[in-house]
Amino acid sequence: MSVAPASLRDEFPLLAAAPQLHYLDSAATAQIHRLALDAVVCHETTCRANVSRGTYRLAEAADLAYEQARQTAARFLNASSADEVIFTSGATAALNLVAHSFGGTLKAGDRVLISVAEHHSNFVPWQMLRERTGIELALIPVLASGQLDLAHLSELIDSNCRLVAVTQCSNVTGAWTDVATLVAAARKVGAKVLLDGAQGAQHGPQDVRALGIDFYAFSGHKCFGPGGVGVLWGRGELLAAMPPFLTGGGMIAEVTPAETTWAPPPQRFEAGTPPIAQAVGLAAALEWMMSLDWLQIHARENRLCELLIEGLQRIPGLRLLGPEASAERAPIVSFEIPGLHPHDICQVLDAHNLALRGGHHCAQPLLAALGAEVCTRASIALYSDEADIEALLDGLRFALQELT
């Protein structure tokens, strides 16, 4: 199916209602697609009931919708079974789940390898695991481009290494991770690989089997879906061997005062009432994403990204973070302008209807490694267009005038 990307903006209610808005903060939260919002409303007004326990027709409809959402997510990821898909409250919750449940099977001295480029959500949970269990936490360093430095991988992924947990794509530099190299190295020693897909999934359907990974986490709100929902995919045999994390209704086989036995995955990992309508809304967004021509969208996203980088490079003194080649990055562009603080830049940009984010972007270790403390970030999504980029370049000229 071919989609004229110029029209995509109209499919997003907030953008359609604010034609003057240049939304360039999609890496923080992408706007919600009309179909996703409609699916939420439709579910809440025609199928609302708790899942997995009721037998009346309304509950059957809720169950069906929820389990179909699971199947849609499985197709989006090319998982071998919907039972490998766990709905969580978001990517952060999914990553914490792995750090607790899979982490609970690790012992002191086992190594978990993360990278300097991680978002705090894939950094701090492993620090906490280190505190709880005495695992060794090792860090893949980054190159000046922000890309992972895989030169010394064989030392980092040694025989003590049980898990490599890295971001698929940096939320600051946009740098894509060389997953194949990591997976090959991990396989040699039997280590598992977790990919934090929070920034990857919004750039198209994934193939977790082709990637050869073991866990994949992402958030609905960054994939044009509702907030309050995320996905953890895990290989069936790994999930089956993992203890639960959150506990409560829906994830047990039997509870007695003495002990409790667990339901099989995915229920084992979905304690309590899940975000049902949100999962249904996310599935609508993922269905829509699967209907798109991603070659075309990537070409367009890359073109906008190059346009932006070219324009930024003309600003004297501006320092671009991230890889040179646009093929090596998602359309996320962060930069520093000497003497100008990102908050002031974003404030002036806002006055020109540009929505950008400045700060450390929950990636302090990465910024420290790149010799920056804070930066300004423009993140492009499939609804972005040339007008957004031109407005940003104009806005930066205003900011330079106004702030100096």
């Binding site: 003057q20 908050h343 002031d344 002036v348 700060g359 403390e373 804070v374």
Partner: protein, 151 residues
């Protein structure tokens, strides 16, 4: 829509540039470092307190224009004040930002921050140096008086 065009008045830029009080004290009686974890603004304030009044102040401020301008106001004006006075001005400034109260009369230049009222997320930027100063004064009091309030 260009609401914020007026935010960066010349006064703010001038204060930020001037950076009154930037530096270090040789003999501080109290010091404090405060961050705004969400944006990376960071203020370090040192005070030398004598007879319960600020005799000298220095700060080291990394941050946006609002934060740096606020630090410079402190650098220019804090000497001679006591903890209660700084507390009153901080409360007044916060109330000006959050509730539109009048500019604290004692430090009229704080009026330059009035346009920031419209931007709640920036209130922290303006307030950070004041909060760091209060923390430094508290530390000074504790070290000088053995934790007995100064009154």
């Amino acid at each position: 829509m260009n609401q914020s065009d007026s935010l960066y008045e010349d006064a703010i830029k001038q204060f930020a540039q001037a950076g009154h009080g930037h530096g270090q004290l040789a003999a501080a009686t109290g010091a404090a470092k405060l961050d705004n974890p969400l944006c990376g603004d960071r203020v370090r304030v040192q005070v030398a307190v004598a007879s319960d009044h600020i005799a000298a102040i220095a700060h080291d401020t990394k941050g946006c224009l609002l934060c740096r301008a606020a630090a410079a106001v402190i650098g220019l004006r804090a000497v001679g004040q006591d903890e209660l006075g700084i507390e009153a001005i901080t409360t007044g400034l916060e109330s000006m930002l959050k509730h539109g109260s009048p500019v604290p009369a004692a430090w009229p230049e704080l009026s330059m921050f009035e346009p920031a009222r419209a931007y709640p997320s920036r209130h922290r930027c303006v307030l950070l140096p004041f909060r760091a100063l209060l923390a430094a004064l508290q530390e000074s009091r504790r070290s000088q008086h053995g934790d007995i309030p100064v009154l």
